[in-house]
Amino acid sequence: DAGVTQSPTHLIKTRGQQVTLRCSPKSGHDTVSWYQQALGQGPQFIFQYYEEEERQRGNFPDRFSGHQFPNYSSELNVNALLLGDSALYLCASSLRDGGSLQYFGPGTRLTVT
């Protein structure tokens, strides 16, 4: 049973560019949440997807957008990259009404130069 997978593992982008990160949830999970973790900080909630819709959103600008596909996988898109977007992006999956337990992927390390 595969856990949460994320791709790519690392990537480097230039300011102003756009990036897409991908997440495949744990088998059977239907809810995906995205977090941003800056160096030396705790993760910050970006948004959450369930039934292909954004259900909750944290305090992030509209440059951050996402999508959930019918197979429950998800993408995180960031437009007009800033240096401050450099971070580890974590995906977490859960089962709706699953008792608050969620599983995190290994993350994607984004460096913006």
Binding site: T31, S33, Y35, L39, G42, Q44, A92, S94, S100, L101
Partner: protein, 111 residues
């Protein structure tokens, strides 16, 4: 904004000793969870304690929750080198999988 704050920021102990770290939060919660992170990789779920629980154990881990003080503690007994990691507390205000994390405690276990 970060709901939880861990204390201390860093902790260095000898193998075999116990490690205790604390977490304080600001608002009423549905549950509080502790996670471990090794070298900037993904988070590993350690333990979840609900707002109506006061203490939970899992192997060498003991977590307490004091909702009147809005605080929690994580105790790792008989520490091992493999326990070297960053530990985060996270609160869930409603049962909606939206977690608010603290900045973490970095634990170093010396052989």
């Amino acid at each position: 904004s970060q709901q939880g704050e861990e204390d201390p920021q860093a902790l260095s102990i000898q193998e075999g000793e116990n490690a205790t770290m604390n977490c304080s939060y600001k608002t009423s919660i549905n549950n509080l969870q502790w996670y471990r992170q090794n070298s900037g990789r993904g988070l590993v779920h350690l333990i979840l304690i609900r707002s109506n629980e006061r203490e939970k154990h899992s192997g060498r881990l003991r977590v307490t929750l004091d909702t009147s003080k809005k605080s929690s503690s994580l105790l790792i007994t008989a520490s091992r080198a493999a326990d070297t990691a960053s530990y985060f507390c996270a609160t869930e205000i409603r049962a909606d999988y939206k977690l608010s994390f603290g900045a973490g405690t970095t634990v170093t276990v010396r052989a």
